[in-house]
C-alpha cells in the first residue's frame, strides 16, 4: 500500500519481485503503466470485437476523452476518497478551466497564449475558485460543502449562460487554438482529424497527475487527509489544522478538474455552458464510487471503463439487442419492446442504481483500497451489538 512497505526477505517469484520493486517505486510503476497504456490500448482497438465498433482513429479519439474523465475522477478522488468530503459541483471547476483556456487562446479576447502555459493558468484559476468557495464552507460540517458545491455547480453554467457580454452566452466561445508540440518528440500535428497527439498528451497529463497525487497521498498531508476522513475530532486533537487540510484537498481536486477542462477545451475547440452540467459532476462521482474511493489506480481504471461503457458500450448493446429481433413482451397492458430500448437513456438511472447499490452492499468500491475497506466496515461490530439488543427485546416479549 505505502511506499515504505518492506521488501520480503525471500522473493517467491519474478512477479513478486517486480511487484515489490514497483511497490517501492510507485512513480516508476506509473510511468511504466502509462507506457503500456500508450502502446497497448490502441492495439486492442484493432482486435475484434472492438474493431467492429469503429476505426482505430475513432477509438484513440475516444480514449483521449476517456482520459479527461480519468483526470476528473482521480482529482475528485482526492476530495471524496481521501479527505472524505462530498463535492457535487466538480463540473464547475472543469468549466472554469475550459473557459480560462477559451479566454487565453481564442480570437474572443484575441489572446494566443500557448496551450502548455494555459494548462498551468487554467489549473491555477480553478484552484483559486476552489479556495474561494471552500474557505467559508469548510469551516462547517461536511454536509454543507455538499450542498454549497451542488449550488456552485448549478450556478456556474447559469452565470456563463447569462453573462452574454463576457462569455458569448449559449453559443459559447469558438475557434479555440489547438495545442502545439513545436515538433518535439515527433508528436506534432494536433488536429480534429488526428487524435493521436491528444491521446499522447492526455496520457502524459494523467501520468504526471497520478505521480503527484500518489506522492501527496503518502506525504504528511495525505496522511492528514485520511486522519480527518476517519475521525475529524481525533485528527484535530493530534494538531492537524482541519480547515487548511480540507481546503488543500478541495483545491487540489479543483486544480485537477481545471487541468482536465483546459485539455478538453483544446480538444473540442469550442466551449459552451451546457457541456458542464450537473451530469458531469455526477458521472465523475459515480466513477470514484464504483472505482473504489481512496484508491487512485482503481478510480482511474473505473473511470476509463465507465467512460467506454457509456460512450460505446451502451450504443453497441442497443444495436446487438435490436439485431436479435426479440418479440414484444406484453405485461398486462404494458408492452415491453426490448429491441427498441435506447440504452443510452438509461445511463444515469444505472449510475443512480449503482451508487445506491455500491453504498449499501460494497461501499469500498470495485477496486477497494485496503484501508478504506476496513474503515467502511468498522460499524459491523456495532451492527452485531444492535442485533443482539434486538434479540434481547424479542426474548423480553
Amino acid at each position: 500500500m505505502t511506499a515504505t512497505s518492506t521488501v520480503p526477505p525471500r522473493r517467491p517469484s519474478p512477479i513478486g519481485r517486480i511487484r515489490a520493486f514497483f511497490g517501492g517505486h510507485q512513480s516508476l510503476a506509473i510511468i511504466a503503466g502509462a507506457a503500456v497504456v500508450l502502446l497497448v490500448l490502441p492495439q486492442i482497438a484493432l482486435l475484434p470485437p472492438f474493431s467492429g465498433f469503429g476505426t482505430q482513429k475513432d477509438w484513440v479519439g475516444g480514449f483521449s476523452n476517456a482520459g479527461v474523465f480519468v483526470l476528473l475522477a482521480v482529482g475528485l478522488n482526492v476530495v471524496v476518497g481521501l479527505a472524505g468530503l462530498l463535492d457535487l459541483g466538480y463540473a464547475a471547476f472543469f468549466a472554469i478551466g475550459a473557459y480560462t483556456y477559451a479566454y487565453g487562446a481564442s480570437p474572443f479576447l484575441n489572446l494566443h497564449i500557448p496551450f502548455w502555459i494555459m494548462l498551468i493558468v487554467g489549473a491555477a484559476v480553478a484552484a483559486a475558485f476552489g479556495i474561494l468557495l471552500g474557505a467559508p464552507t469548510l469551516r462547517l460540517r461536511g454536509d454543507y460543502l455538499a450542498i454549497v458545491t451542488l449550488g456552485f455547480g448549478e450556478i456556474v453554467p447559469v452565470v456563463i449562460l447569462n453573462a452574454n457580454n463576457y462569455t458569448n452566452g449559449t453559443n459559447g466561445i469558438t475557434g479555440l487554438a489547438q495545442p502545439s508540440a513545436y515538433g518535439l518528440f515527433g508528436v506534432d500535428g494536433f488536429g480534429f482529424s488526428n487524435p493521436w497527439p491528444y491521446f499522447v498528451t492526455v496520457v502524459g497529463i494523467v501520468m504526471v497527475t497520478m505521480i503527484l497525487l500518489y506522492r501527496l497521498q503518502d506525504s504528511r498531508l495525505g496522511r492528514a487527509w485520511v486522519a480527518i476522513r476517519e475521525d475529524e475530532l481525533a485528527a484535530a486533537s493530534m494538531g492537524i489544522n482541519t480547515v487548511t487540510t480540507k481546503l488543500l484537498a478541495f483545491s487540489i481536486g479543483a486544480t485537477t478538474s481545471g487541468l482536465a477542462g483546459v485539455f478538453y477545451a483544446s480538444k473540442l475547440g469550442v466551449v459552451t455552458p451546457d457541456q458542464f452540467g450537473f451530469t458531469v459532476s455526477f458521472t465523475a462521482l459515480a466513477m470514484v464510487v464504483l472505482g473504489g474511493m481512496g484508491n487512485t489506480l482503481g478510480v482511474a481504471a473505473g473511470a476509463f471503463v465507465i467512460y467506454e461503457i457509456q460512450s460505446t458500450g451502451l450504443k453497441q448493446l442497443g444495436q446487438v439487442v435490436q439485431s436479435l429481433h426479440l418479440p414484444v413482451v406484453a405485461l398486462g397492458p404494458i408492452k415491453v419492446d426490448i429491441g427498441s430500448i435506447n440504452f443510452i437513456n438509461y445511463q444515469y438511472l444505472l449510475y443512480g442504481l449503482a451508487l445506491v447499490g455500491m453504498m449499501l452492499l460494497r461501499p469500498e468500491g470495485l477496486f477497494p483500497s485496503r484501508r478504506r475497506r476496513q474503515e467502511l466496515h468498522e460499524d459491523t461490530d456495532e451492527v452485531a451489538e444492535f442485533k443482539s439488543a434486538e434479540t434481547l427485546e424479542a426474548i423480553d416479549r
Binding site: G84, L88, I147, V159, L233, M293, G352, E375
Partner: protein
C-alpha cells in the same frame, strides 16, 4: 448527535416564541417596500406572487429541515420527491379526464381533495420506502455514505420520470378558475388565496402535530438524542419513518401546488426547487420548522425582487449568494437556536 444537535421544536421561551413571527413581519414589510420601489403599480400583484412562491418553497423546506433535524442527513432526493408529486398530480388529473378549469365549486373541492390526498399519500409512501431501503442501513455508516445514496436516489427518481413518463415539459390543466377577488385597493386571484391558505393550514397542522401529539414528542426527542429517546421507549425506526412520511407528503402537496399555480412540470425541476428550498431551510436555521417557513418566504421574496428589478435569469445566483452569505456570517440561520456542528 448530542444535545446541542437539532430540536424540531419552536423556541422554548415565551419571549423567544415571538421572535419568528416578528422577523417574518419585518421581512414582509421590508420586501414589500423593495418590491413597491421596483414594481410601482404592479407591486401588490408581485407581492402576492412572492408570498405564493414562498409558501411553495416553505412546504418543500419543511421536509428538508425535518429530515435533517432527525437523522442529520441532507436528503438530496427531497427535491425529486416534490417533482414526482407534481407528476402524480398530473397523472391523477389527466386520468380523471379533466382538461381545464372547473367552475362547479363542490366538484372542484372534491377533485382538489382527491388530487392532494393521492399525491401526498403516494409521495409519503415513496419517502418511507426510500428511507427504508436507501438510508436506514447506513444510519451508523460514515457520513459520506448516506449522502452518496441520497444523490443516487435523486438521480434514480429523476430518470424514472424522464425515461418512463416524459423527458420534456408537461402541461398540467389549471383546475382553479382564474377569477379575481376584488378588494377595492387591490385584487387577488383565487389560486393565490387557495395556495397561501392551504400552505398555512398544512404548516399549522404540522406545528400542532409536532408540539401536541405523542408522536410529535417522540420525533422531537429522537431529534435531540436518539439513544436516550430509545431508552425512554420511543420506537426510533417508526419515528424516523413517520418523519419521512410527513416531509415527503408535504413535498407531494407542494408538487400539486406547482401544477396548480405554475401549470407546467418537467423531470429536472426538482433539482432547482430542492436547492432553493434547502437554502430556505438553512436560512431559517436547519432543524427548525418555524425557521424553514420563514426561510421559504425570504427566498420567495428574493426571487421576485430579482425578477422585479429585471434580473429574472439571475434569481438562482441571488439565492445561491444568499446561501453562501448565510453560511459565512450566520451558519445557524436567522432563527437558529440550534448550534451548527463545527467539528
Amino acid at each position: 448527535m448530542t444535545a446541542e444537535a437539532t430540536a424540531l421544536s419552536g423556541p422554548r421561551f415565551p419571549v423567544a416564541r415571538l421572535r419568528g413571527p416578528l422577523i417574518l413581519l419585518l421581512v414582509i414589510l421590508a420586501s414589500y417596500a423593495v418590491i413597491a420601489f421596483g414594481a410601482g403599480e404592479q407591486a401588490p400583484a408581485q407581492f402576492i406572487n412572492a408570498v405564493t412562491i414562498g409558501a411553495l418553497y416553505a412546504l418543500i423546506a419543511l421536509g428538508y429541515t425535518m429530515v435533517y433535524g432527525i437523522i442529520e442527513l441532507i436528503n438530496f432526493a427531497h427535491g425529486e420527491i416534490f417533482m414526482c408529486g407534481s407528476f402524480v398530480s398530473w397523472s391523477v388529473i389527466t386520468t380523471m379526464g379533466i382538461t381545464g378549469a372547473i367552475t362547479d365549486i363542490p366538484r372542484l373541492v372534491i377533485v382538489l381533495v382527491v388530487v392532494f390526498l393521492i399525491s401526498m399519500l403516494v409521495m409519503g409512501v415513496v419517502g418511507v420506502i426510500i428511507e427504508r431501503f436507501a438510508y436506514r442501513r447506513l444510519r451508523n455508516a460514515p457520513r459520506l455514505a448516506p449522502l452518496i445514496t441520497a444523490i443516487g436516489v435523486s438521480f434514480i427518481l429523476q430518470n424514472i420520470i424522464s425515461v418512463g413518463i416524459s423527458n420534456s415539459v408537461v402541461t398540467i390543466p389549471q383546475l382553479i378558475p382564474n377569477t379575481k377577488l376584488d378588494f377595492g385597493v387591490f385584487s387577488i386571484s383565487v389560486i393565490n388565496v387557495f395556495v397561501i391558505a392551504l400552505a398555512l393550514a398544512l404548516m399549522v397542522a404540522l406545528h400542532l402535530f409536532i408540539t401536541q401529539t405523542r408522536l410529535g414528542t417522540a420525533m422531537r426527542s429522537t431529534a435531540m438524542d436518539r439513544e436516550a429517546a430509545q431508552l425512554m421507549g420511543v420506537n426510533i425506526n417508526t419515528t424516523i419513518a413517520i418523519t419521512f412520511f410527513i416531509g415527503s407528503a408535504l413535498a407531494g402537496a407542494a408538487g400539486v401546488v406547482q401544477g396548480l399555480y405554475i401549470g407546467v412540470t418537467v423531470f429536472n425541476i426538482g433539482f432547482n426547487y430542492g436547492l432553493k428550498a434547502f437554502t430556505a431551510a438553512v436560512l431559517g436555521g436547519i432543524g427548525n420548522t418555524t425557521g424553514a417557513v420563514l426561510g421559504g418566504f425570504v427566498i420567495g421574496f428574493l426571487e421576485v425582487i430579482s425578477q422585479v428589478y429585471g434580473y429574472a435569469n439571475w434569481s438562482e445566483a441571488v439565492v445561491f449568494g444568499a446561501l453562501v452569505a448565510v453560511l459565512i456570517f450566520r451558519p445557524t440561520g436567522i432563527l437558529g437556536q440550534q448550534l451548527a456542528d463545527r467539528a
